[in-house]
Symmetry: C2
Subunit: 341 residues, 2 copies
């Protein structure tokens, strides 16, 4: 049964409880809220009445007084996507532990739809807004709004806004340092769609760390797409131009999967001959790879949690500005390790 058989059309109110307990609404309210100005026996009566009626206080009415709704609005642009979801999880996590609830809207990359949802959320008197992008590149600011706004995953172009992002350059550095530690020196870089800042950042991180170690990567960074197909193609190119390659740093797990396939079919052993790394730590791809893929975990849940924490701070009046960068970490698996000659 989804609804009570003789369910009253109206929900149980504090007045109902008070009536049953034979007290005023004021006394009932105090009893339920643990105020000290009420006799123990009276409180008992009220509590049991509330229990009996399955009373649950109307949070909306309560917030009408306080001026705060206890909700935040979460506008995502990529409900289907792999990256906004963990961010959303982290935010829901941070909110769910407290008394705030999350109103979810999907804007699907459409600025108009976003604007519509923001207005609707403001009408619901959300205490703050969190905007989760579909891709990590900076996006236009929403401008001035009556409540605090935090941008997660995709930062705002306006440095006066609050943003939380993952550290793509660090991811590249971690990969390069790990490969160097594995004794690799002939390292090729295959990254993704050049229209993504993340593709450049990750490649730049690799280069920077190699540079620090005095190692020159094999050829230019190879830009393409975030696909297995591109990984297969790029790996064939690398093998052709640099047959003595001993490591390929990939800009995503998808790409790395394609690279692994081409290497295997070319008879190269991984990791004995060539080490391979991915980025994203998308377990569904990384764990099923042969061998399991060493990858960079962006800590997207943490991005969401931090964004929510910043938002709550701002709601409390302790707002900040600027972009906060969440560090990532390397997850070593079977696709990297010492060389074997």
């Amino acid at each position: 049964m989804t609804t009570a058989p003789g369910a009253p059309r109206r929900a149980v109110t504090l007045a109902d409880v008070a009536r049953l307990a034979g007290v005023s609404v004021a006394t009932a309210s105090k009893s339920l809220n643990g105020r000290q100005q009420v006799r123990a026996e009276t409180r008992e009566r009220v509590l049991s009445a509330a229990e009996q009626l399955q009373f649950s206080p109307n949070v909306l009415a309560r917030h009408l007084l306080s001026g705060r709704s206890g909700t935040i609005g979460l506008v995502t642009h990529d409900l289907e996507g792999r990256f906004s979801i963990p961010t959303l999880m982290g935010a829901e996590d941070a909110a769910g532990t407290g008394k705030t609830s999350v109103l979810l809207c999907d804007a699907r990359g459409d600025a108009l739809r976003e604007q519509y949802h923001v207005q609707a959320l403001l009408g619901r008197r959300v205490d703050g807004l969190m905007i989760v992008g579909a891709r990590p590149d900076p996006r236009p600011s929403l401008g001035t709004l009556p409540v605090p706004v935090v941008y997660a995953y995709a930062p705002s172009q306006d440095p006066a806004d609050m943003s939380v992002v993952s550290d793509n350059v660090l991811g590249g550095r971690l990969v390069a340092e790990h490969l160097l530690a594995c004794g690799r020196r002939r390292i090729a870089v295959v990254t993704g769609d050049p229209s993504y800042g993340a593709a450049h950042d990750r490649a730049a991180g690799v280069r920077a760390a190699l540079d620090d170690a005095g190692v020159t990567p094999l050829g230019e960074d190879r830009y393409g797409a975030w696909t297995e197909e591109w990984g297969r193609t790029a790996a064939a190119l690398v093998l052709d131009q640099h047959p003595d390659v001993d490591a390929i740093a990939c800009g995503s797990d998808h790409i790395a999967r394609g690279v692994l396939d081409t290497l295997r079919e070319a008879g190269r052993r991984v990791p004995e001959d060539v080490a391979v790394t991915g980025h994203d730590n998308w377990e569904t791809l990384a764990l099923s790879a042969r061998p399991p893929l060493t990858s960079v975990d962006m800590h997207l849940e943490e991005v969401g949690r931090r964004a929510a924490a910043l938002l709550f701070d701002a709601i409390e009046g302790r707002g900040r500005s600027g972009t906060e960068v969440v560090p990532c970490r390397l997850v070593p698996r079977g696709s990297t390790g010492p060389r074997a000659t």
Copy 2:
């Protein structure tokens, strides 16, 4: 800037608008709501005052009157997962087009957390609840609640509840009929984790359709896990026991990816020698496969949309009972096609 520089602590109210326009709140209300009992010139003044103050009506206060909150609660058990997300999208889609908003909670498969969230949502006076499961098997009912409840993806065990699920048996049938139409007769079934009803349903659908055509599948249904690893193992078994196999129907795209890898490495051509099908139509896996994978699309967005539609109906008083089954469809790609001898 995330907040207006001199932003008032309090949001703009109808009283503010009325004051600026030099009318009463009642007149302001009527003007803004398009009531006819107001002079055109007065309405103009009110509208421009509202515009000037960027007034946005407090929906919570409005709903305090009407008794409905204009929100539904969405409790998901698998925010990370692949299957609940499209369902959630469909629900958000159906709600977003109207005036209802979605309060999202993640219960992570924990019944206690679910109970907690349900209570919190009831306190927010949601007009209805939607429960999205993590796996398609029937789950315990929440029992009697003061608002309608719809279970999506994972149905309720109580037939008196409203549930919406995908048709796994049909998926199996579609696969078998397609393989038969491609001229395949020596068909093996590899499905997933036997603790999932879906694993049995999909296999049963294949068997039923083959049976209708008088074709006997190769050996028993092979249960294992929803992984590429199992797909690779199972394919090796099939090749060993039935070297003349000409089609393998897989219970998921993950499994099919593993099957494809083993076939390729065994020198079997797909689809010329062996046709392969998946289930889920997870594009990130299906499109990158070599060749691209024929798969069953469960229409999960439609599951979510239907669930939301049923919920809205129930909120309007037109509630139903029972489980609604959303049909799936086959998406033919390169991994199936006519045989070549």
